[in-house]
Structures are given as C-alpha cells and as structure tokens.
Amino acid sequence: MKKSILLILLLSMCVNIPCLASGDVSVTLKLDRPEATLLDSITLVVSVSGTRKSDEQPSLRGLDAFEVMPGGTSSRIEIINGKVNAGVDYTYTLQPKKTGNFTVGPAEVKVKGKTIKSNTETLRIVKAIQSKEVDRGPLFLSATLSPKQVFVEEQAIYTLKLFRQNRVGDISLGLPEAEHLAFKQLGKPVEYQSVYKGQSYQVLEVRYALISSKAGIYGIRPSRMSMTVFRSRRKSSRSLFDDPFFSFSSGEPVTIASEPLELNVLPLPQKGRPTDFSGLVGSFKIKAHLEPSTIRVGESATMTVLLSGRGNVKRIPDLKLPELEKIKIYADQPVLMEETDARGLAGSKTMKWALVPEKEGEYRIPSLSISFFDIESKQYRVLESPALSMSVLPVENAQTQISQDVLKGHKRDGSRKQEVKELGQDILPVHTSLKDLHPGARPGIGGVVFWAILMIPFFAYAVTFFIQKFHRKTTMSVAAARARKAAKALIRECQKGGLSSNHLTSSIRRYLNERFNLSLGSLTPDEAADIVNSRGVSATTSERLRRTLKELEDAIYTGKGQETCDMGGDIPELIKQIEKETR
C-alpha cells in the first residue's frame, strides 16, 4: 500500500514537472567544437531547461552556410540536491557548405506561447587539408598544430584525429614527450562524421593545449594510439545475422602513429617589457567595482577587481591595493578559477578588499594596473582598473534599529556583517558574590557524610540480606526439628503396641508429611514409596515402606482397620532405616 502511494507520488511528480518548472525556462545552444573543416560534420545541441516539451521545434538562426540534419530529441530529468530539473535536448548535425567564421544561433524556442532565445556560438570552418597520399586506409591518426609559431607561454592547439571505418575499442593514447613542453587536455573527446579522399570516416577528435616554457624549435614526435580493431567478416548470403547486432567480428590489436610536427617558440620581446611583467601571456581584461559606494564611518565597503581572459591564467599576480589615508584595508584571499574549452585555457582571478573608513568625506580609490603580453597585437599591454570613489557619511546618531536583515547576518545596506575583531585583551573581573563562597557548605571528602553516603547503602543491603538469610535458615531449622521429632513420635507410638491399622496408617502419613514438609491429605503406598525414594532412600527401603502401607491398607479395606495390628514392631525399624538413608 505504501509502495503504491509512493509510486503514484513519483509519477505525479514526473507528470507535473513541466508545470512546476515552466516558470524558469532557459535555452542553451552548444557546438561540439569551435572549429571544423569543410568535410566534417558538427553536432549542435539546443538544450531547453525547465520544461520537458516545447510548443514546437526550435527555430535556428545563422545556419545559412550549413546543411542541417535533425539528430533526434531526448528529454531528461535531473534531481540535484533535492531540486528537480527537467529538460529536453534537440540535436542537429551540421555540414558546412563554405569556409569562414560564422555565428551560430540564437535558437528560438516557444514554450507556452512565450519565445525564449538562446546564446550564440562562433564556428570557424576551414578548408580541409588533404594529404598528398592517395589513400591512408580505413584507419589512421592525424595530428595538427595551430598556430605553428608561438611565444613562450602562449598556447598552441594540438589536435589529434582518429579516422576510422571499422569499430574500435580499448583505445589508449601515448603523447610525445619533450622537455619544456606541457600538454593539457581541452575538454572531452568529440566524435563526428567526416570525408577524406572521397571516403566517409567516423572521426574521434581530442584537443590539447601545448605550452612551452622556453624559446626554441621543438620537434614534436608522433603520438601513438593503440586499440583493438574489429573487422567484420563478409558472409556469402544475407541472413538474420547480417544485422549489425549479430555481426561477427574479430578483434585485432593495432598501434598507429600520427605525423611528426614542429613548433617554433619565440622568446618574449625585451623591447617595451614592463618592470612589473609577471609572465602573463594571452588576452585579458579587467573590471573593478565598489559595493556600496556610499557608507558611514566604521562601516565597510567591498572593492572587487576581476581579471579574466584566455591564456596562462596561473600567472595572474595578486594585486596590492596601496595604503589609503583614513581607510583601513582588509584584503581577502584571491580566488583563481581555471577552465578549459576547445579553444584553450581560460580563467579569472577575483580579488577583494574590505575598506573601512575612519573619517567622513569623499575618497578616491586609485586604479590598479597589471601588464601582460598580448598575443593578438604581439606587444606588451598594461591593463588599468578604473579609479573608484567612495562617499563616507558621519556615524548615525540615532539608535540602530535591529532590522530583519541584521538578524539574518546582513547590514541594512545589504553587505555582509564583519567578523568580530579583537581590539584588546584583559582578564574578567573578580567574583564578589557571597553565594558560592560559604566555606564548607558542602561536606568534605573523607568526612562522616562521605563515608555515610558510601557505606550506608551497602550496609543497608548487607543487613537486609543477612536478616533474610537468617530468617530462611530459621524456618528451615524449625522444619528439620519437626522432622526429627516426627520419627521419634512414630517410633514411640509403635513401641507402645496395640495399635490398629487405621491408627498406624494415619501415623505414618503424619510422619511423612512432617518429615518431608508435605501437606498431603491421603497417601497411596506407591506415592509414599516415590516420596521417600525421591529423598534419597534406597529402592529396597522404599519398597519395604510400600509393602507395609499396602498391608495396612488391605487390612483397612477388608474391615480389619480397627483391629490390633501386629506390624507395629517392624515399623520402627523401617522408620530408622528411612531416617538413615534420607539426604
């Protein structure tokens, strides 16, 4: 029952996802790579997030230079950190018709009558470079380098393409090694269709950023790729097993190599090199802002400088804000973000400072500068952040009102509260209350109370235990004395003589009851024998008792119960024997 309810809930959740999520619909356009040749196919994916269906197929712009083939639709549901996100992906295959740089997109998607636009992507289509060789076979590895001449620390893109017509598996790649050269993979490998020398191939492409730390001409040896190639066996006649699913193929290990390449690494020019140059090479931009720009004395404003771009971002130095008069500066830990895409290494560094003015007035925060080598213009450039201004008002005299923002850890101007800073250190004052000072208010360890608390519970238990034991023992002793007396009384009675069978039977029963602490009203000879036998009396003696009682019982039942019985002489001996053998 519970499972059914859960299933219904899950299903209803899935059904309701489009309506739940339709309030926050977004469209993203993505190409599998930014550069391709005229003979390659390119995969374009339009991802719609926040809904599982659109009103109609996306309308794509900027695709005049391409042949567009729809590649299918797939919907998805993701649950990340308990948040359900539904989406649909439209996949297209593009076949370029001409070379050039193109802006692909935006894609327009209609959801519930509302048109949502995506981003755009740039795509460079180059002429396919065909090798002079006529045919390179059904499987080959191609390597290209772009550009072939770079400056120190500038990245070149090393692209490896595996062209194949057969199914392959277990691919492993061995990259060439060279001193002062470093390879860094850019994104995941992509697969697409391409044409080479008139033949169609499936291409697996993987890109690397190649960075050199020293000038010189580097010979890049061939990359080696090992794999298992599955070649289909031709069958004479078509059958059910001609289906690729059932095709028979045998695996064959193959290692192929790419062509060797050469990279010319130029040293960075000495001319115009700034003194503060940190080795940053690439293309960068700087942004700076102050939040808030108007504050009161003692409050803090945050100055943020963001340096972002494409290149060796690890070389971005930590900028230093010069000391400012009447402003206390607290630098935050800079945050470096590195990312890679098909075009190379990129990233940003965010630096923050908390500025706390000590006096009211207008302040000017000077600009910060950084130099780098611009690979576009092939010269050094200096980036400068804009100078910022800050208005500082006097301290508010009125009592501060505690607003909801303050309670949430925010100041009323929206900025985060500062960490409490220790301004001085001193001891806490003396204790002057008499409350805890009463001497000896608590009993001391080792005193009477101490021993009383420790020993009284134990003694109470011990005394009760012994009293109980003594009492039990006394009760048992009384029973034992009574038992001893019972034998004596019976023997004495028997010795008097002239007793009837009735009298002797009841005397023996009384003896057994008192001796063995029983309270039986009547007793058969067998029961009596069993009782004494269970108390350790031998089988012979028990049998004797049984026989004696049987004879007495017979006498009673034959009407001789009141007559004098001559067995009175044997019974004392039997009782003595029972007493002797009883445990």
């Binding site: 001891i427 806490l428 003396v430 000072l437 608590r442 009477v448 101490f450 519970p457 109470a460």
Partner: protein
C-alpha cells in the same frame, strides 16, 4: 518506639553537622572578603591579595577566592602566581567560564611551549577534567545509592525490569567508582608546580655550580619528582629533567611540607 525516634534524629543531626566546618566568627571572613574586593576595585591589588590570602590561610579554601587571587597577581604582573592560583581554582570550579577565560589569557603569555600530554585515561575518562573531586564524588554517591537500592529491591521482588535495571546500575556504578578513584588519585598525587620567577636555570644537580641544562620562564607548569635540601627535581612532558631551587617554584596542590 520513642527511643528509636530519638536515635534516628541524633544520627541525622550528627551526619548533617559533622560535614559543616565550625564558624567561630560568622561575619569575620565576609568582612575580609568585602574589603579585599573593594581594594581590588580601587586598584590596591596587593591589599586585595593580602585579604584573599588571609581567607585561604584561615581555611576558607574556595575556587572563587583562588580565582580572585589569580586576578590580583595578574594585575601585579606576577604571571606565575596568577597561573598558580587559577590552576588551584580550576581544581575546585573547573567549569567556571570567567576562570577558564582568564586562565587561557594568562597561559597565552607564557613563553615556554610545553604541551600537556594526553594519555589513554584522560581520553577514556574525558569528563574528569571538567568535574571537581566533589562533583565526581556526588555522582558516584548517587550511583552507589541507586545500585545498592535496586539490589535491595531485588531481595524482595524479582522481576525482569529490576534485573535489567540492576545490570545498568552496576555498569554505571563501576564507571562512577572508577572515575571517583581516578579523580581522587589525580588530586592526591598532583605533583604539578608552577615556575614563579621570570627566568630560572634548570641544573643537572642540586647545586648552583651544576651545569645549566635549560631555562624555563614564569608561569610554566612542570611536574615535580622529588625535593632535596631546598632543591626540586622537575620533569617536563618531553622527559627533560633537571633541578631548580625550591623557592622558584610552587606546587599547585597546597601542601604545608613544600613541593613533592
């Protein structure tokens, strides 16, 4: 019956009053305490210390008085004496927030970096550091009453619930008893001494002519192994050992016979 009542009342009265110390002058110590507090407020720290010391000497040993004494010595810039009295206070009122704050502040000013070793017993019986001997005793006392009480009940009434309860109380009784025993041993054998001078030479023997092995500074806490003719053999947690003049150190546990 009446005779038994008198006997019971007498026993209770003996037990109750035996724990209380005699108070010869009911208001005397209070007056000294107030005067010392006033002196402290007015910045007459030496007078305040004299007052608090007088209270301690007359048997009014109390964690709060030791705390106040520590504050007085701290104000007089006698770090060693301040730490000594804070540590004495910590034995009696280990969870006092003011005390722990001031002690931490005082310890921050010690020059020597001597790490306090953490043994297995300190880790296993981690609560002992936060409880005074009195508190551990009362905890054990309650467990003692509960344990023997449940056994007593079992003499008259056997049932499943009191069987399991007696087992639980037995385990707690053992833990409580062990804790009390350890705390008792810890307090009785506390051989820690505090360096009282700004800087002292630790020598290889009990003679001023002996080699200086290392130096210690005011406020450092070390263990005293034994004393001999006005000299004390001390040991550091890292096993460094040496002799120091008895006048340069004072034991945290008050002992009229001197250190160790």
């Amino acid at each position: 019956m009446r005779r038994y009542s008198y006997l019971a009342i007498s026993i209770i009265a003996i037990i109750f009053f035996s724990g209380l110390d005699t108070e010869a002058q009911p208001n005397g110590w209070e007056a000294i305490f107030f005067r010392a507090n006033e002196a402290f407020k007015e910045g007459q720290y030496q007078d305040a210390i004299d007052g608090y010391e007088q209270l301690v000497q007359t048997g009014h040993e109390n964690g709060h008085i030791y705390y106040n004494l520590g504050n007085g010595y701290f104000r007089l810039n006698q770090l060693g004496k301040a730490i000594l009295n804070y540590e004495r206070a910590r034995i009696l009122i280990p969870r006092d927030a003011d005390l722990n704050f001031n002690l931490r502040l005082a310890r921050d000013q010690i020059q020597d970096a001597i790490a306090e070793p953490q043994g297995f017993i300190q880790m296993a019986f981690f609560w002992l550091d936060a409880l005074s001997l009195q508190e551990v005793f009362w905890g054990f006392g309650i467990l003692n009453v509960l344990f023997w009480g449940i056994l007593l009940i079992r003499l008259f009434h056997h049932s499943e619930w009191n069987y399991y309860l007696s087992f639980v109380f037995f385990v707690l009784f053992l833990i409580g008893g062990t804790s009390f025993g350890l705390k008792w041993y810890q307090v009785r054998t506390d051989g820690r001494v505090v360096i009282l001078e700004k800087e002292v030479n630790i020598l290889s023997g009990p003679d001023i002519q002996d080699t200086v092995l290392f130096k210690l500074h005011e406020g450092s806490i070390v263990h005293c192994e034994r004393s001999e003719d006005g000299w004390v053999l001390i040991r550091l947690p890292d096993k460094k050992r040496g002799w120091v003049e008895a006048g340069s150190v004072e034991q945290i546990k008050r002992d009229p016979r001197g250190p160790c």
